[in-house]
Amino acid sequence: MTQRVFWKQLSDFMGEGRFKVSSVRRGQMIASWLFPLPAVLVVAIMLAYPVGYTVWLSLHDLSPFNLDKPAWIGFENYATLLKDTRFHAALERTIYFTLGALALQVTLGLGMALLFNHDFVGRGIVRTLFLLPMVATPVAMSLIWMLILNPVDGVANWILKTLHLPPQLWLNSGKSVLPTLILIDTWQWSPLVMLMILAGITALPHEPFEAAAIDGASRWQSFRFLMLPMLRPTIMVALMFRSIDCLKTFDIIYGTTQGGPGFASETLNLYIYKTGFDYFRLGYAAAALVVFFTLVLSVSLLLIVLRRRTEAAA
């Protein structure tokens, strides 16, 4: 009897099963615990514990010199962060990079999706080729971009010269380095946005468009007042994934500039990396990390809520 109550509670805890509890056999209840157990262990050991440890560490002073004896210092690391201008600048750059990349990638992605929605010879092949930038090893591609964008003998400036445009310093000037990194990120990821929106367009129903055409709507009108609102959930998903990953961008920045010239491309991720692994201020880096992942988690939560709303409205 107690056993049955136990299984019932267990099943309530694990979520509503597909079967009524009375008919659920023990085997299935055990399975619902055992099947996910290895994954739960991986999450606990490799993910939950490190995050908890980071929060704990952020309240301590720790460097390789006192690795066995972290000193409790309360919120001092956070107080220092508030006054750390390099940290503030990194935060601003992260937001600038993310907003710039998002705007460019979603606009370009939507534009390309509309373009590629037409019938043309080789459509399938071109779509396949557009998968390549997002799977090509980012750090290797960032080195190739460095060659292409080299201000002295890079092919990019040669192309500009041929088009009678002024040459650029690209990654080599504090002014142009972030826009250039946004360009590289856009090269890598706007094909994904394009393919996501294209999948969204393919899934749209025909009828509203046929009705609009019969009522004499122009192509612009049927795009602006039909397709765009119907695509909003898809665009929200694209925004969500891109903003999460833009905030975290590391490979293409470290691969090209390591945060330079000076600190001109030092985003939060780079700043924390250097604080932790170059300067070994582990406790201080942990405090910056807590701020960083709180930012990323809040942005994703916000977008998940917004996405729910657009889906409810659509």
Binding site: G15, G17, R18, G27, Q28, A31, S32, F35, P38, A39, V42, M46, L47, P50, V51, Y53, T54, L57, L67, N117, H118, F120, L129, L131, L132, P133, V135, A136, T137, P138, A140, L143, I144, W145, M146, L147, I148, D153, V155, P191, L195, M196, G200, T202, P205, H206, F209, V237, K248, F250, D251, Y254, I272, Y273, G276, A285, A286, F292, F293, L297
Partner: protein, 278 residues
């Protein structure tokens, strides 16, 4: 399903600008890859020439530089070991979890695994680094495989949740009615029917482990160094042997690009944790 109503045939007068835009965009997105492959077959003289050389006599010298005079075969092996092992463990751990999440509606667990995809990777790396220093396993394959597992596991689990949820419930229930256990359902029904998704998820997890730079640059040692770290160091130390770099980069990026072609229908879905069906 193709929705013909939204896909238009172009009026003749629009075709010119259309194909122009198409060609410019395609060139922009393929240019760095084409340029890389070309540079890998050029001599150093051709690579440094201005204006850039497009027609040239190809050489294999750069591949010799990278793979005979530098230990790139070793780095390739390291990348392969770490990516293959972390992906295999990811499937073994992720598939039963995904099955359980799909069948018993364990949404909480699904969300926690999704959080692993959202959190910045560096927030695990710092504590791992301290922990691994204490355990004295920095630089081992084990440390790399364990950390790369956290890259692949969320992808594999979420793609498989989608696949298992799409399986007809009757098929599973009839196995149960016939006296099979839930384990039989998982091993004999769910896994075989989801084989294409498992293959695609493995390919995508492999690609992301292969491409991972951040974990490897901190945790890899001289003997376990994978390709992304090796190619990064190649530049710093040899100070721009353009062709050698391009040859190494061509091989490194070539493998995930070829793998992606095999799983092309699943890539978008994999990169969006199943939120978009490609």
């Amino acid at each position: 399903m193709r929705s013909q109503s939204q896909r238009h045939k172009l009026a003749i007068w629009k075709r010119g600008p259309f194909y122009f835009a198409l060609i410019v965009l395609t060139l922009f997105f393929l240019f760095p890859i084409i340029w890389m492959v070309m540079a890998s077959f050029k001599t150093q003289v051709d690579n440094l020439a201005t204006p850039p050389v497009v027609i040239f006599e190809p050489t294999l010298e750069n591949y010799r530089e990278a793979f005979i005079r530098n230990p790139f075969p070793r780095y390739t092996w390291n990348s392969f070991v770490v990516a293959a092992a972390s992906t295999a463990i990811g499937v073994v751990v992720g598939a039963p979890a995904a099955f359980s999440i799909a069948r018993f509606r364990q949404r909480g667990l699904a969300v926690v695994i999704l959080a692993a995809r959202i959190m910045p990777a560096i927030s695990y790396l710092l504590p791992w680094y301290i922990l691994f220093l204490r355990l004295k396993i920095v630089g081992t394959y084990e440390s790399l495989i364990a950390t790369h597992l956290t890259v692949g596991l969320p992808i594999i689990t979420w793609m498989l949740i989608g696949a298992f949820e799409e399986l007809p419930a009757e098929l599973e229930d009839s196995t149960l009615v016939d006296g099979g256990s839930i384990l039989t359902v998982f091993l004999r029904v769910a896994l075989p029917l989801s084989a294409p998704t498992i293959a695609a998820a493995s390919i995508i997890a492999f690609i992301f482990s292969w491409n991972n730079f951040l974990f490897s640059i901190i945790l890899a040692g001289a003997a376990t160094r994978p390709l992304p770290v090796a190619v990064f160091n190649f530049v710093s130390y040899l100070n721009i042997n353009v062709g050698g770099l391009a040859a190494a980069a061509t091989v490194i990026t070539g493998i995930p690009m070829l793998l992606a072609l095999l799983a092309q229908r699943y890539i978008v879905s994999g990169l969006t944790m199943g939120a978009v069906k490609g």
